[in-house]
Symmetry: C2
Subunit: 281 residues, 2 copies
């Protein structure tokens, strides 16, 4: 079975649009600031997706596009002004920043209440502790939303998360744990990865390498969530799994494109609506 991200996104967007409509009636216009430095193709592509999503659900996007040579001090001043601006409810920073800007300093400057992509210590601690404070990184949460949409209750099941990044692997593992999953985190130093993956009823693949996980890791009955997005030599988008090899073996799998990536900006938009509702209480 295909787990179609577009269907999940559609359902999420409808709910977010309803929430935004309610906020509009109260005179509140949910607003997302998008902060970009330079003109990286990845950033521009993600920005286009976020703009489209915002417009679809009734969120006002404001793009702050800064030149590549923007200094850290200047960036911090902008972040602080966004923190103070009561008409802005969420801030998305397209990262990684250029090397001359300290990521940690900028993350620390952002108001956790506006941290709709889960990059501040407050959000990370909330994800780790399972308190629901702050916001989870959108891509990690997108994995959970796909399971929910397809009525896959993961409680008591075994999940294996391949990849331990702070934007996907680790937060996805924690979100699954909070859903009572028995979760295993794998990474580049894991030995006998296929053997570990065979134990997974839910397999989240977020290694950041095209086609890195193939049939050797697949098992009948598995639900596979492929987080990767890469441009193949033939100009087609591909994921972290070898889709053609895995799909015939497993129970269900997300395609690329149209899988996890298709849900990410919908989660982002929902976070902005929720942040607006919280801030205007």
């Amino acid at each position: 079975m295909l787990l179609e991200g577009k269907r999940v996104a559609q359902a999420l967007d409808e709910a977010t649009a309803r929430q935004c409509g309610e906020l509009h009636e109260k005179g509140i216009k949910p607003c997302l600031a998008i902060l970009r430095i330079g003109e990286r193709a990845d950033d521009l592509s993600y920005e286009r997706g976020a703009l489209k999503r915002c417009q679809k659900v009734g969120i006002e996007p404001r793009v702050y596009a800064l030149p590549q040579d923007t200094g850290e001090k200047q960036l911090l001043e902008l972040v602080e002004s966004l923190n103070r601006d009561e008409t802005i409810h969420g801030v998305l920073m397209l990262r990684p920043f250029p090397a001359h800007i300290r990521d940690e300093a900028v993350r620390a400057a952002l108001d956790p209440a506006k941290d709709v992509d889960g990059i501040t210590d407050g959000s990370l601690a909330g994800v780790f502790a399972g308190t629901g404070r702050g916001f989870a990184p959108c891509t990690a949460e997108a994995c959970i939303r796909i399971l929910e949409h397809y009525h896959i209750d993961p409680a008591g099941r075994r999940a294996v998360v391949v990849g331990r990044s702070l934007v996907v692997g680790r937060p996805a593992a924690m979100l699954l744990l909070h859903k009572n999953v028995t979760v295993t985190l794998c990474h580049a130093k894991t030995q006998n990865l296929p053997q570990v993956c065979h134990q997974a009823e839910i397999l989240v693949v977020a290694v950041g390498k095209m086609g890195a996980v193939g049939a050797e890791c697949a098992a009948p009955g598995q639900i596979v969530l492929d987080v990767g997005i890469h441009m193949g030599e033939d100009g087609k988008l591909r994921g972290d799994t070898d889709f053609a090899a895995m799909e015939p073996v497993v129970e269900a799998i997300t395609p690329v494109p149209g899988g996890v990536g298709a849900v990410t900006t919908s989660v982002l938009a929902e976070h902005v609506a929720r942040a607006a509702a919280r801030q205007c209480q």
Copy 2:
């Protein structure tokens, strides 16, 4: 083989005493504030251990013992005065607090720089992100220190952590992950726990229930770290594992008493010395 916490503590204390000696020569007296509400037996016992350890390594302990009916506001004011007091480098709060005090409010009030037991968002985010900022919860870190002392390199090995508390299970899993371990988190909703545990080369048991994990979870070659401390009906201390049943099967195991618990206050003391060194740079 027995993994003797006392030996680990002894080695840690020697290093901490050396660091404190160097600080004393610079005119800095590392100081730990211990904040206790009421007279719970568990708190008093931990406090006695911490006081003894502090005295041994050259840390000045200051006990703030508050009555059971202390209000939240009063407690928050004390925490803020401890934050401001430059002669205090670390603060240990004995928890859980009485029900009328919101744990989250008090944790948020503590200066992360003085958070030597890893309870603030800053420390939790540091443990989750592996940045080394803040301090890990002492008991979780004690598990790692035991492995280090016995020259057990966990990199690339499989660990199973049974128990997902925020003071032990989850942070221990993250600390192991940062050491390149393939780590699985289990809990009360885990199915077929013995089967999962059999895959563990390192088994951390932190379920908070006396003798809950027995021979059915043991496998030859395993390293077992037992985090529990309970008083048996016969007045003897026991752990979360059935030691008598596991010890003959596994490669190495921590006893109770004299295992993980014996190392916890040594880790705490080391954190205080490190906090003092950082704050006085």
